[in-house]
Amino acid sequence: MTSKADQRKALAEGLDRLNENMATLAELSELAIRKAVDGLVRLDAAVADEVFMLDQEIYALQVEIEKTCVDLLALHAPVARDLRMITTSLKITTDFDRIGRYAKDISEITLQFRGGETHFKKLVSIPRMADLTIEMVDSAINAFLERDDVSAAKLPETDDSVDSLHDQVFREIVTYMMDSSVTIEAGAQYILVSRYLERIADHAVNIGERVVYMVTGERPPRIRAADRAKDKAP
């Protein structure tokens, strides 16, 4: 028969393992976005292949984390901060999985551009968006690992900038398509890349919301970007 102290130790070990796996999952997801955007900018098919591998790894680790969470719930009936850490992990692994998928989608576009082609112009806004997005994912991961609800709650502000950049890219590319600087097919692909990055940023915001819940037990309300801008206005 196991004693209460042993049970507690088993739960503590399980939570430590979960935390480590979450950190790895987050690192893999961030690496996948970096490589995907790098591969796109340089039109490098080899890098795109690496992203496909990363996507596979992310999925496998997500499954592993899900199993750990279900085991911990079933065997230890955790409560309070332990319960919130496990349910938060369960939820945000889906966000990381989606981030991995978007990185893969971007790399698929890279492969379509391939064949000696170069971009119709030097990409500026998309790498800028990628930087901001990676910064957000990084910040969300750190907030999770450091249990920092204050930084997590600030993510929507950066997301507003990513959204504005997406709108800008959209208008820019449509203009280029209209004056035939870029083909409709290629233009649509750039818009998709921008859209994927914008969605990745949204997932970072989701992770931030869950971190706030994990740390405080409170679910933060969703505030529309327009209302946030109003609050900021002098």
Binding site: A77, A80, R81, D82, D149, T216, G217, E218
Partner: protein, 263 residues
């Protein structure tokens, strides 16, 4: 980001049981320190806390079971249905008719199943024999025990299983129609199946009465209680809706206790 402390007490407007500044001493040792607590009517309130935290003392002070302990004295106020339990002229026997108590170990009388129930009813109400059969059956049905004992009413209660004995004790309490049922670790001597039956019963009974349960089993508190109070060293540390207390306790001490990071 700071989260405000729970204010659930303010939402309980018509408590069945309420204590204000309740303190209890055993000789020089203070077992309960100025506890303010409200038990919502027709709800289940669980009191949890480590051994010696005062939870059983608190429970037993509600129906004045501590009166019989030499050197036990109390200060403060304890009201059941708004009436001061320790007020002058309160008859503890009549109080205990209104406030039943179930103990940790089932304690049936060494008599037949039938007599276990009939005794209290005759004592309190002097029911005639014809009524008595009906009262006994109703109480046994209410305690989900009737089908298991209807052919053994004249057999000794001591021949029943532990879980059946505990439900018999609950039926015995129910026969005199209490308004509040106090349970002091009612399942700690029972196996998981018998425990589940008692928990189902608690769920049924709260439609008709207010239940206060002291338990060492936190999962049990989480399963059966609408409200949970956490006591430590005689003090009430935190009181909240059960789901909030187990999902996001406000006090570090509560957090450490319920997650097992204690001592």
């Amino acid at each position: 980001m700071t989260v405000p402390p729970p204010t659930v007490s303010e939402d309980i407007l018509d408590p069945a049981v309420e204590s204000r500044g309740l303190s209890v001493w055993y000789g020089r040792k203070q077992a309960i320190r100025r506890v303010d607590l409200k038990m919502a009517r027709h709800d289940v309130t669980a009191i949890i806390g480590p051994s010696g935290c005062g939870k059983s003392t608190y429970l037993r002070s509600i129906n004045r079971m501590n009166d019989t302990i030499l050197g036990c004295r109390m200060e403060g106020e304890l009201r059941v249905d708004g009436e001061d339990v320790y007020g002058p002229g309160v008859d503890p026997v009549l109080l205990r008719r209104k406030v039943g108590l179930i103990f940790q170990k089932p304690n049936p009388f060494p008599k037949s199943v039938y007599k276990n129930l009939a005794f209290g009813v005759q004592l309190h109400y002097r029911a005639s024999p014809s009524d008595l059969d009906g009262v006994v059956e109703a109480a046994l049905r209410q305690a989900n025990l009737w089908d298991e004992v209807k052919d053994r009413l004249d057999d000794s209660a001591l021949g029943l299983s532990g879980g059946q004995q505990q439900r018999l004790c609950i039926a015995r309490a129910l026969a005199i129609e209490p308004e509040v049922l106090l349970m002091d670790e009612p399942c700690s001597a029972l196996d998981p199946v018998a425990t589940a039956k008692i928990e189902d019963l608690i769920f049924e009974l709260k439609k008709e009465m207010t239940i206060v349960i002291v338990t060492h089993n936190m999962q049990q508190a989480a399963r059966v209680a609408d409200y949970t109070a956490f006591m430590y060293l005689g003090r009430l540390v935190e009181f909240d809706r059960t789901r909030d207390l187990f999902e996001k306790p406000h006090e570090e001490l509560t957090e450490n206790y319920i997650t097992g990071r204690f001592g």
